[in-house]
Amino acid sequence: METNEVYEKLKRVFEDGIGEIKTDLPTYPFFFVSADKINAVSLFLRDEESLQFDNLSCLSGMDYDKDNLAVVYHLYSYVHHHKLVIKVVVPKSNPVLKTVSDVWAAADWHEREAYDLVGMTFEGHPDLRRILLPEDWEGHPLRKDYKVPEFYRGMKVPY
């Protein structure tokens, strides 16, 4: 199923929860989903007969623009062999979105990584801890305004 068909289908069910669709960029088409609806939308995408996106290929957190962070979901269906890209944009002032780790187990570690490196909070995640950096690390390195600290626990950070 093509992205715009999936989009139409979701729009009918979730109305305002689904944002605009972008097909004109030199990229795979994608659309936006609101932060509080992402869990319900994901569940629908996974379980609806004609969609069955049973595989979360990748979940990437990123510093989206000046005021926002984003999470990008790359989905795939082993049943229907189709792909989908959805994005959730959250403001930097309140970077909270619903978890999808109960829908796809793959999201568990990916969300921890996004939290660790980019710094958004996934509401409802069972174990939201840092995964790659030490537990007491300060800040989230993949933010564009991140400054490398001079010291970590009294040890000089070499550059």
Binding site: L56, S60, M62, W104, L132
Partner: protein, 372 residues
């Protein structure tokens, strides 16, 4: 007699432990010998790959991708380069595509040899390890001949490759294939169908297909669960659709589908298929200039690309976002081992400590890839 008091014991396995294949720490909760819970702690090898990419031009990132999964550098380069080429929308010369396929398949064999060798080692069989490393050495020599490097190549460039292959290389590769075919059989005889090895791996750590897909498991680890899915065939990239090869799956010949032995044997079978691909590619490789399409300056337009490839370990994907500048806005590596490892807790519970070693080995993880 009063009942003995028992308690759950928490112990560390790793980060300095040979069976964890690198600096991985597993926190085990034990009830005697039985494992109640496995919690992997990652990050000992974290090198901020994704942060570094923000300060480098597109071609400068290629050597960094080498260092992700260091047993599998060619496939890493290919995945990243394909993503950048997709952003640039450039046409690649035929010859380059063929060379890339030959290199990637050679690398796949080398990677599987390490997987098989170290897996035997985990089970206590040291001899196959030496045999595998001897053969891997021959592949590394081929790489050295073509680009000078043995482990980290920086060989696949955006739009081309760094060196053309020579007739000498083709000759040596043909010799290698002739030499290596019987060696696969030998390793199978030494290890795969060895009674002790089967006892250690069959019926251990059974991974059901639905759990695997839901957890993002891919590659031989997924195919061991019996699903016939290979990105080279099912979501083809480069020129893999031109070659005839079989997708190997675990069939439950020994043990049950989805156990450690079936995950392991997929790799042993796949080496033969890689040889077939290399043979076909060498037969039909066209002439041409390998650097004619290399751009002087890599400056992709605004956009993003997500390319999935089949690395020896599974689905390796790069998500590259460009803001139109000389450096990427965001590079995210969808690391294979990272996703594969995440199911370990689910399938290790209830097994013995020694089985955790076998289950971990059957995923063929590389910590450079997990921690980035």
């Amino acid at each position: 007699m009063a009942e003995l008091r028992t308690e759950e014991l928490t112990i560390n396995m790793g980060p300095q432990h040979p069976s964890t294949h690198g600096v991985l720490r597993l926190v085990l909760k034990l009830n005697g010998e039985i494992v109640n819970d496995v919690r992997p702690e990652l990050g000992y090898l974290h090198r901020c790959f994704e942060k570094h990419t923000e300060a480098m031009t597109y071609p400068q990132i290629i050597p960094y991708t080498d260092r992700m999964d260091y047993l599998n550098s060619m496939n890493n380069e290919l995945a990243y380069v394909l993503a950048v080429e997709k952003l640039l929308a450039i046409e690649i010369p035929e010859r380059v595509e063929y060379i890339r396929v030959i290199m990637c398949e050679l690398q796949r064999i080398a990677s599987h040899l390490v997987a098989i060798g170290t897996y035997g080692n985990d089970a206590g069989a040291f001899t196959p390890f030496l045999y595998c490393f001897m053969d891997r050495e021959k592949i590394l020599e081929l790489f050295e001949m073509v680009c000078g490097a043995r482990l980290l190549y920086n060989y696949i460039w955006v739009g081309g490759v760094s060196h053309d292959i020579t007739p000498e290389f083709l000759k040596k590769t043909k010799e290698f294939i002739k030499y290596f075919r019987p060696r696969i059989k030998q390793v199978n005889n030494l290890l795969s169908y060895n009674k002790i090895f089967i006892e250690r791996t069959a019926n251990i750590g059974i991974l059901p297909v639905d759990v695997a897909i839901n957890a993002g498991v891919s590659g031989p680890t997924l195919r061991g669960s019996g699903i016939k899915y290979d990105l080279r065939k099912d979501d083809t990239y480069s020129i893999y659709n031109k070659f005839d090869f079989d997708v190997c799956v675990g069939t439950g010949e020994v043990g049950v589908v989805g156990d450690c032995w079936n995950r392991y044997i997929v790799r042993a079978y796949e080496m033969e298929q890689s040889l077939r691909i290399i043979e076909q590619a060498m037969e039909s490789i066209p002439e041409g200039d390998v650097q004619s399409a290399v751009p002087k300056r890599v400056k992709p337009p605004v956009g993003e690309a997500y390319v999935r490839t089949e690395s020896p370990k599974g689905e390796l994907a790069y998500y590259v976002v460009s803001d139109g500048g000389l450096t990427p806005f965001r590079v995210k590596a969808r690391s294979t081992s990272f996703c594969n490892l995440s199911v370990i807790n689910q399938i290790s519970r209830g097994h013995m400590i020694a089985d955790v070693v076998m289950i971990l080995g059957s995923f063929d993880i590389v910590l450079g890839c997990i921690d980035r």
